[in-house]
Structure formats: C-alpha cells, structure tokens
C-alpha cells in the first residue's frame, strides 16, 4: 500500500502547509514525495522521539504533518511524545505505520505491529486501517487531528472491483451471519469465501475505522440471531473484536454465536513470513474457512 500512499500524498497533499517527516525509511517508495515536497520532506534520521516532537512543533504552527516509519517505530517507540506532544494539544499529525500486523514477517517480532490500533485508540487517535490501495486517498484526505494510518497489503481477489470507500462496507454478500474483518483481512476473507454459495457463507465487511464510528444498521441486521465473526491481525485487547462486542452489548443486539480470530503473538516461539504467522493464528484463508466450520459445529 505504500506506493498507493505515496501517490495519494503527492497528488493531494503537496501544499506549502504540509510537511512529510520520515525516520530514515521509505527507500523505493517515498522518492516521489521527496521530489514533490522539496524542503518540506525531511529525513529526521533514526530518532523517532525527536521526529514526533518536531512534527508537533510544526503542527502547532498550523502545518499538517505526515510522520512515516515502520509501524512499531512509529507508534510504540515515541509513545509518550504522541501522547503529550500531539494528542494533548489535538494537533494535525498523521502517523503512518508501514507494515501493520505481521506484514514485516521474517524481519522478526521487533518489526511487527500487533497492538498498534489499541494503543492509538486509547489515546483518542483516529485509527485508519485501509483494506485496499484505493482507500488511501479517501482516508487521509481531510485529516485535521491526531491520526494513525496502518498500511499493509491490498489482498482483494484478483480483478475484483473495490466498493466505494466507507468506514464499514460490505465487500461480499452472504446469509450465514457476517464477518467484520479489519483492513486487509477483508480481502483475505473475501477471497476465501468467494466460491462458497451465498446461502452458506457469511457476508464480509471491510472495517477501516472502528473508533467513534457507528456500525451500520445493515451489519447488525445481518448478525442478529446469527453468527457474528470478527477477524483481525491485532491482539485481542483493544482490538476490533472487543470493540464490536461492546457495541453489540450497548445496542442490545443478540447473536447466536460470536467467533473471534485475532493475532496470538508467537504461540510456538517460531518466526516466519506474514503468511506463517497468520496461519498460526488462524487468520489466513484456511482460518477463515475454519471459522465458518467452527460456527456450524
């Protein structure tokens, strides 16, 4: 998604009041932004705390600022700077974490971002988890408050058209309840259930924004007295599943079954690709089909 992100930034945010800071990352991805932004593109070096503080200083003078790094270096390393310098003053800074979930696979656990959405949600940051490349221009268009953008890979079925952007949107119809899938996992679930008859499969909803966003009534209608599935490449604490469960209670919705798949961390103590870790957590294509079987048991 980072190429789509770079294209969206270059096309829509190349203004005198917009800065782009990177923590020495973005090789073969951010070159166009660097060229377009000129001296408003700053490689702040390997110093993430300073990068966030500088971004806050710029934003305090009415600049809009993108801050880019590999996801954990973006939200975890400078957590206090995000909290104190950006959030307490409600500044227009968009934190861009590349490689959400296990996306950095073989790079190892230091490069994975499994609790980012919860951490940023807890601070009141607007969390955006695009499902598809085409979402990016829409989600970052008008940011004016602390925002966290989690980038992964567009994994929709080959040739499948992308439905118009919405914080929650249905990408595949079905009648056996509904799956709420966080970001790119919507593409995974979509592909996994494509050849299952609609009557036997749940619908698939791509969830990009789950803080302070109303869950559409149509989703509740689809899960009422049926099975509600949630799937996310994120730990259970503070993730999409907990959010949906709480919203369900507040709303007084009753479902026949709640099936939740999420990032388990490193259950075997072994490391591998994103696909390896997803398989271990049951959040890959096989895992989606297995969820369905589990619900029918």
């Amino acid at each position: 998604m980072r190429n789509a992100f770079a294209a969206a930034v270059t096309a829509h945010h190349n203004r005198e009041d917009c800065f782009f800071l990177t923590g020495d990352l973005g090789f073969m991805a951010l070159e166009d932004i660097k060229t377009a932004f000129g001296n408003r593109f700053i490689n702040t070096g390997i110093a993430e705390q300073n990068m966030i503080g500088v971004a806050a200083g710029l934003a305090r003078e009415n600049m809009k600022v993108f801050v880019y790094s590999i996801a954990p270096f973006c939200y975890a390393r400078p957590f206090e700077q995000i909290r104190n310098d950006i959030c307490l003053s409600d500044l227009s800074v968009c934190l861009v974490g590349n490689g959400g979930g296990y996306a950095y696979g073989q790079m190892g656990p230091t490069h994975h971002a499994l609790e980012d959405c919860a951490a940023m949600n807890a601070l009141g940051v607007q969390v955006l988890v695009p499902a598809f490349d085409a979402d990016i221009a829409s989600v970052i268009r008008g940011f004016s408050s602390p925002t966290y953008l989690r980038l992964g890979f567009d994994e929709r079925p080959e040739g499948a058209p992308v439905p118009q952007y919405a914080p929650w949107r249905q990408v595949l119809t079905g009648e056996f309840g509904a799956i709420a899938a966080l970001g790119p996992l919507a593409g995974v679930a979509w592909q996994a259930l494509l050849d299952v008859p609609a009557a036997l499969r749940p619908s698939v909803w791509a969830v990009t924004e789950f803080n302070d966003k109303e869950i559409p009534d149509e989703f509740w209608t689809q899960v009422s007295e049926k099975t509600l599935f949630t799937i996310e490449e994120h730990v259970v604490a503070g993730g999409l599943g907990m959010h949906v469960a709480l919203a369900m209670i507040h709303k007084g919705i009753h479902v026949s079954k709640f099936v939740h798949r999420y990032a388990l961390g490193y259950p075997t103590g072994r490391f591998g690709s994103q696909a390896f870790h997803r398989a271990q957590c049951g959040i890959d294509s096989d895992g989606v089909r297995d969820m369905l079987m589990e619900a029918k048991r």
């Binding site: 800065f19 001296n39 408003r40 700053i42 702040t44 070096g45 110093a47 705390q49 300073n50 966030i52 503080g53 500088v54 971004a55 806050a56 200083g57 710029l58 934003a59 305090r60 003078e61 600049m63 206090e80 700077q81 104190n84 310098d85 307490l88 003053s89």
Partner: protein, 262 residues
Amino acid sequence: MPINDIQTIIETARNRLLEMHFHANCGHIGGNVSCLDAMIILHHRVLNPDDRFILSKGHSAGALYVTLWTLGKMNDADLKTFAQNNTMLPCHPSGSGIFGLLFPTGSLGHGPSLAAGLALAAKHNNVPRHIYCLCSDGEWQEGSCWEALIFSVHHRLNNLTIIIDQNGLQGFGTTKEIISCSDLTPRIEAFGAHVQHADGHNCGEILKSLESKSADKVNILILNTIKGKGLAFENTLESHYLPLTEQEYRTACSINTQRGDL
C-alpha cells in the same frame, strides 16, 4: 528597563513564588528558584511578542506562572488556584489556557524537539521569530534531548536558543555522582552548537548572553545556578521535592525582604 528594576521584579516574583508554593504545600521549589532570574529577564527584556517560549522543565511551572503575573498576564486570583482543584495552573503546565504556553510539559526531554519544530516552521514561513526553550541539566540524561540537538544543529536552526538551568542537582543525587557530568559544556559543544555560559543569578550576565547569540548556529546558554538559592534547604535534595515549612517560609521571606531593601 534598568537592571536594578529587573532585580526588584525578581525579588517580587520570588516572594510571590514562595507564597504560592507554601500555600499550595507544593515542592519543586528548588528548581523554580534556580531558573526564576532567567525566566524574568527573558520575558521582560528579551522575548518579542512574536517569539516563542517552551518550558521543557515543566516542574518549574510556578516560576513561569509568577513571571506571567509580573507581566500582568495573570492575576492574584489566578495564582491562588495554583495546584488546587479546578485550576488552570497545575504543578506542571497543561499547555492550554495560559498566555504564551504552547504545549503541556512535565515529562522531561520533550521541549528541545518541540522547539526545533517551531523553529523549523518559522524558517519555512520566513517569520523573524526566535524560539527559546528552558531545560534542566538533569533533563539532558534523556536521549531525546540529544536527538533534538543533532537535528537542530544539522538544520542550522539559528533561531533557536536552548537555556539550561545547570544547578547540578536532580531527583536523587547530583549530576556529578549520577552520570559524571557536572558541566554539560563539552558534550554539547561536541555536537556543534554555540555554547555560552552565565551566572544564572546575575541579571547582567544573563541578559548579555541572551543578547549576543550566534547568527548561524543553534544557541545554547548554560546558566550556572543554585537550586533553592536563599532557602533553608539551598542546594540540597530536599529543595527538589519538599514544600516549605512555615518556619522556612517565614525565614525565606525575611531574607528576601532584606534583599529587596538593599
């Protein structure tokens, strides 16, 4: 304004600071007293209306509040709420609702980066604005300060002055015994900043240093100060944490009054 008049303002502010902390039963007096002279001189004689000030050593909020009081930006009623419920004046500044305050501070090591961002924005906007940031000396044990210094030197932020209140005492010991660093000068100079020194309790020296900045480098002004100067627990760890007893407060006021008479 002549230096003698500034000295009078400092004495008035000092008495008000002690009164405020005494009535609120608040500590951190030592670090407030050590930087008060610089804070007053900066705000009364140096800062232009469009300049920016960042209090990175947020535990010296009291000194900032009374400085703003001497400028008429706060009144007695405001100061009476210091550290009370429903106040705008907590012991570390909240960053909102206070004249000139741009950020909440209190966790150390944030100010230099924030100031660098402001300085960068001023350059980008071609605004002839200077950014001042007041740090403690112990604060420079935070790696983020050095990150900010590297960045600021690289970007030639000559519109940035970082003032360091070098009183030599921190939370649980001296800077010398904790990190073998009683003077930050050689370390900061090695990073390429322009470093000046002054006696932090000598108004003339402070003012002269602030008026003779480098035109092409990041400016660092190291003020050699005494924590809790003039108080019963001057230059002790007690001055970092403990509030004044009534006896200590009365004695301190008496000393100040005598100084004022001089």
